[in-house]
Assembly symmetry: C5
């Protein structure tokens, strides 16, 4: 999984019917897990807000693990990160 | 998922029979979600036009979420992006 | 999907039994879809020849979409590209 | 699979219910298998500790191979590496 | 699929039970298919030896195509490459 910060969201009115009701958040991976050009858009599965540090699952895990088996979803926010060690400068302190 | 701009399309006459009737669009990821060398070709699932900003699902999500379970499709346009925040310079304004 | 040029092929005699009869082609992605170091080897599903511009599906789509569900295949040529727009310098003209 | 070193862990209280009870470890790939910006977060399936060199499976393999078929997990630690050859400077000696 | 050279192997005693009996080989992609920092660890499905040029399948193809459906395997050596064209400097000659 990836750890990143929720930095935004997008709105899409005309979309695949299996996506109706989904919230699309923009997540920027922490610098140790990616670089500035690889923000991703993920479905919110846990009620994450902008500015929170979150855990993102990608691939089939996003669909199947979030009860969206038939939806075109390849990334989902599956946890809010409370604290951590080993991700220098960010995770040693309260990440929110 | 990836957010990108539809910049073109391709035509393929001789192809896998499960692809007959599909439209193949060329999508350039926004600069914050990729770089200039990673355009992708995606099936159009929502009627996107050239110049529109779209949401693209990749991997098995593209097949299964778009009712193309048996097709060799690994990327699909699944939404037209109306607006958004957090993708600087592009999404703050009407992206179309 | 990726668009690339067929630039070669490989021969493998000792291989997984589910690969017997498969043709392995070397595909170089167009410069807008990759870089010089990411050629891939793909099963040929449509009778592509060296020099042709092709559409390649990757991941589970390659297996499932090409009736090779039980084969260790993660990339397949699924179309010959006739023409296109939006891939500068290559696709505006006859790509073959 | 990827070989990396366990360098930390994260704590998430508010998370997908299928992740309850899971341990989330931060793994830094060995320099020959990645670069400094691609640490990943993996579920621990074998009781790995910080500082140990581990084998990480990614994608659907992480879910299905670890009896977490319905969980949003895309990376799992599936082995502790005892020794090895061919990964210069690290694996020729006891990797722990 | 990727073509690479077997450059080593690793030993793991404490591991997921579905991996018992598996051989873990270190594969370095040919320079045209990757770069120096992306060696991968793959299960050996065909009896490959160190120094041989091999074909590697990744993702779900590695599990399903090698009769290891329930194992946490995301890469497998599925063929020994005998010869080839189109991979300059390596494949034009006997690759072993």
């Amino acid at each position: 999984m990836i750890v990143g910060k929720v930095v935004g969201s997008i709105v899409s009115t005309r979309k695949n019917e299996n996506l109706i009701g989904s919230k699309f958040m923009v997540v920027e991976p922490l610098s140790e897990l990616g670089d500035a050009t690889n923000k991703i858009v993920a479905i919110d599965n846990v009620g994450a807000g902008i500015g929170e540090i979150v855990l993102v699952a990608t691939g089939s895990a996003a669909r199947i693990g979030c009860n969206m088996t038939d939806s075109p979803v390849d990334a989902a926010i599956v946890g809010i990160v409370d604290s951590g060690i080993g991700l220098a400068g960010v995770m040693d302190h309260d990440p929110r």
